[in-house]
């Protein structure tokens, strides 16, 4: 169920690897079949970025996307969930190296996490690494607990399903 591509080297066959690397870090990697220049463009141009950052089926739409992707620039993304719920995510670009690297802050939290995305050429393809560094173990734990809030509902569904099977 959950263990699709669950190994440490899925990049070899195009899969997405997601790991909690340490008490404060989340690392996601994936290889794309294009040169870094193209992949970087998809991450740095808002009209392209907004087409893929919010996948369908997650119940969320991106209603605002302002990104000035250069060192010292800022971004602001506004998501809508349901009819009235909106969430804004904002921060600034600490470092941008065209075709190589984007580093930004996530300032909607009191203590801000820093995200680093790197693009490495490997034989005509691009190894992308998305690295999130949380300010503390507690901050990452809290992020986990927050998304675990959806767990009880899933468990209820699961219980109902198992009851049907049983």
């Amino acid at each position: 169920m959950m263990d699709r591509q669950a190994n440490s080297h899925p990049a070899a066959h195009g899969g997405t690897s997601v790991e909690r690397k340490s008490e404060r870090e989340l690392v996601v990697t994936r290889t794309f079949d294009a040169k870094p220049h193209t992949v970087f463009k998809a991450w740095s141009e808002p009209e392209i970025f907004r087409r893929w950052w919010v996948p369908e089926g997650f119940g969320i739409t991106l209603i605002g996307c302002e990104m000035d992707v250069r060192t010292g620039g800022t971004y602001r993304l506004v998501f809508a969930a349901g009819e009235t719920d909106t969430m804004a995510f904002h921060g600034k670009y600490l470092e941008v190296v065209p075709d190589r690297k984007i580093v930004w802050t996530n300032e909607e939290e009191a203590e801000c996490a820093v995200t680093t995305v790197t693009f490495e050429e490997q034989g005509g393809k691009t190894l992308l690494t998305f690295h999130e560094l949380y300010p503390s173990k507690e901050a990452l734990d809290e992020a986990m607990q927050g998304s675990a809030a959806g767990l009880p509902a899933q468990l209820e569904q699961l219980a109902a399903l198992l009851a049907d099977i049983g």
């Binding site: 263990d3 669950a6 997405t16 996601v28 079949d33 087409r51 734990d141 998304s147 767990l151």
Partner: protein, 119 residues
């Protein structure tokens, strides 16, 4: 490591897929309790309660300790379930994102190949 997480997630789901067991965790969230007192509270036989506790223990959600003739239960590493669930959620999210990005990159490559730089 990730396999280990996936396995513990499955165990957690199985352990939590029972209303009584979820009730036991809620109870232990308030205070540690002996198997006997839990059996009383949930109107169950001691044997029935022991089975439930064994399932929760295997999932790492409950830890038990025997002192004299009394076995006391307390909450185990609840973070385990939260972490595994969170990692699984992140994986679903990024896989969906990157699948969409794959398609777009393919289009971009195609456009470049066709010599038209416009969208």
């Amino acid at each position: 490591m990730v396999q280990y997480r996936a396995a513990s997630l499955d165990l957690s789901f199985a352990a939590l897929a029972d209303a009584t067991r979820r009730g036991i965790l809620e109870q232990l969230g308030r205070a540690d309790a002996s198997i006997t007192s839990l059996a009383d509270r949930f109107h169950m036989t001691l044997t029935g309660m022991r089975k439930h506790i064994a399932v929760l223990e295997r999932a790492g959600l409950v830890v038990t300790e025997k002192v004299g003739r009394v076995r006391t239960c307390r909450l185990g590493q609840r973070d385990l379930a939260a972490e595994a669930g969170w990692i699984a959620h992140q994986r679903q999210l990024f896989e969906a994102r990157f699948d969409a990005l794959d398609k777009i990159i393919l289009e971009m490559e195609q456009e470049e190949h066709d010599g038209s730089a416009s969208e």
